[in-house]
């Protein structure tokens, strides 16, 4: 059911100027991400530079919304971007990606990331507790993390690939929103399947119902598995038709991605210049 409804959003025809505007919006909503054991300060600096200036100035492409890194890399990202950067620093935290760590360790990690300069914290929920039925513990951990992250925006990663059913995704979304999440996020990107359109639709509808009940706007971040511009535009259509134009802003919708950016930039160049592009002419993802 969710599959069929999500598939309906892929049927819209978006061409020329609307496509160009949509692609630029995708860039402005992107959390450019590097989450690998081999990350270095140099790699993070490269990512920050790319987020600040994704393409040749002639294409008039906005900056990305944020760079998303491991807690140890936050200070390098902050140093490179400086204070008051248009590009935010997001840090994954709470024992990303598994979350199988003691709560004090997780909270300490969050506090340190924020102290190092993270504007946004991407926490993972305790799937162990969730699947064991201890929903109160999941709620309490999110609430504690919200408190520990202070002024930083909290994104709560449900890791939908491990929650098995849409019912679980819906329930986890509600728990996260009630516990104080600013954003709910599909996946870590380390588990397959990551973000899919149906699972994102379930979460968007949870956000919609939460808004109707409380008047509070919660953001959404699909992450992992969105690799090309066409898919990204499908997501924008789904957001617009489920939540409306209010959510079409980097403040309430983000893409967690790394390779997606280059495909979007190639499509922008194709739309502007008229010829098909090749990856050799774009910086490394």
């Amino acid at each position: 059911m969710a599959e069929e409804r999500a598939a309906a959003f892929t049927k819209r025809s978006i061409k020329t100027s609307a496509k160009l505007a949509g692609l630029k919006m995708v860039v402005s909503m992107m959390d450019l991400t590097t989450l690998e054991g081999k990350d270095t300060p140099g790699k993070v600096a490269y990512l920050c530079r790319k987020a600040l200036q994704p393409a040749d100035p002639k294409y008039n492409v906005p900056t990305c919304a944020a760079v998303c890194v491991y807690p140890n890399m936050v200070k390098y990202a902050r140093k490179f971007l400086g204070e008051n950067s248009p590009v935010h620093v997001a840090s994954v935290a709470t024992g990303f990606p598994s979350g199988q760590f003691p709560l004090p360790t997780k909270l300490n990690e969050v506090r340190r990331a924020v102290a190092d300069g993270a504007d946004e914290v991407d926490m993972v929920i305790n799937r162990c507790a969730f699947l064991a039925g201890d929903h109160a513990k999941v709620f309490d951990e999110i609430a504690a993390t919200k408190e520990a992250s202070g002024p930083a925006h909290l994104k709560v990663i449900l890791e939908t690939g491990e929650l098995v059913t849409y019912d679980n995704v819906r329930l986890a979304s509600e728990i996260a929103m009630q516990a104080g999440a600013d954003f709910i996020k599909t996946s870590t990107g380390k588990v397959s399947p990551a973000a899919t359109m149906p699972v994102t639709l379930v979460m968007l509808e949870a956000i919609r119902d939460y808004f109707f009940a409380t008047g509070v706007r919660i953001g959404m971040k699909p992450a992992g598995g969105i690799r090309n511009a066409k898919q990204a535009l499908h997501y924008l259509v789904m957001v617009k038709e489920t939540l409306g134009d209010d959510w079409l802003t980097p403040g309430l919708f983000r893409f967690g991605a790394s390779t997606l950016l280059n495909d979007v930039l190639m499509q922008i160049a194709k739309t502007v210049d008229g010829n098909y592009q090749g990856p050799d002419y774009f910086s490394l993802p």
Binding site: G274, N275, Y276, Q277, G278, P279, D280, Y281
Partner: protein, 290 residues
């Protein structure tokens, strides 16, 4: 009993080892020289071309890393498959172009021989064209050819099969992947050849065959930034001018071959130097004696 309806085949495109219809849904009728309709064939659009580039790019990595010996085996296998289904192609050429069965058979036989010829070059061209260079410093300095990547091949109208094979084999033998734009006048032999290639162990995407109208695809061929080289055998002056004007902007390699129609049947086109159209030379400086 009612009369049986004739089944007209619609030949499809050959992209990434699969046989899709044109994304545009278009097709054209293939006419016999007398003007009767033989069959239909897909009319490729720029998006089909784009898809073919994606398929070719995906194939380059594995194909260029396959051993030269293995590439030779696979090209030889393609010759075997062609031999096996020669009658089908003879018939296709004869009914499309109106030549006698004997002439069509000669074209198919030569196409088989040409594949065998170029299959032999896979593990030889790099020895022949590499060099060890004298340098003044204490370095061992050598130059070797490497495949350039994705190559677009434009086949002439005639001979529809033999020229296509003769132009494509030297491109793919070094490890490139090719997108072949078939004869515009006689596309059916190319489409049948695609069906033979699909069963020949050639990895999907190494050869992609598009049928349709060249003129429509030319600006996109010249402008596509993920195409590394063009081998222009179409023999159409207007098309050559447009391709060269387009490549002047992005500096992709352009090579033109327009032998006289009769020369396609001679050893003149079994030219190993054609391999050099689509390779890049790499020079390495290896320190010695330090």
């Amino acid at each position: 009993m009612s009369t049986r309806l004739d089944v007209k085949k619609t030949y499809k495109l050959f992209i990434g080892g699969k046989f899709p219809r044109s994304e545009s849904g278009r097709y054209l009728p293939a006419k016999s020289p007398a003007g009767g309709q033989l069959d239909n064939f897909a009319h490729a659009s720029r998006k089909d071309f784009r898809d073919a580039v994606v398929a070719a790019r995906a194939a380059v990595d594995g194909w260029s890393k396959a051993t030269a010996y293995n590439r030779g085996q696979i090209l030889y296998r393609a010759a075997e498959m062609l031999q096996n289904r020669a009658t089908e192609l003879v018939n296709e050429i004869a009914r499309s172009t109106g030549v006698s069965a004997a002439k069509a058979k000669r074209e198919v036989t030569l196409a088989i021989d040409r594949l065998v010829h170029f299959a032999g070059w896979t593990d030889k061209y790099s020895q022949i064209f590499s060099s060890v260079n004298p340098v003044a410093t204490s370095h061992f300095n050598f130059t070797t050819p490497e495949p350039t990547g994705v190559v677009v091949v434009l086949a002439p109208d005639e001979p529809s099969l033999l020229a296509l094979v003769s132009l494509t084999a030297p491109v793919i033998l070094s490890g490139n992947a090719a997108i072949v734009i078939s004869s515009e006048k006689f596309p059916l032999p190319a489409a049948t050849f695609a069906e033979i290639l699909a069963t020949s162990d050639l990895p999907g995407g190494v050869v992609n065959i598009l049928t349709g109208k060249r003129g429509e695809l030319v600006p996109h061929i010249a402008g596509h930034m993920d195409v590394n080289a063009i081998v222009d055998g179409a023999g159409v002056p207007d098309i050559s001018v447009k391709l060269q004007a387009g490549t002047a902007i992005n500096l992709k390699r352009y090579a033109k071959h327009s032998p006289a129609p009769a020369d396609w049947f001679t050893a003149k086109v079994e030219d190993p130097y054609w391999i050099l159209d689509t390779v890049e030379f790499k020079t390495a400086w290896h320190p010695i004696g330090v």
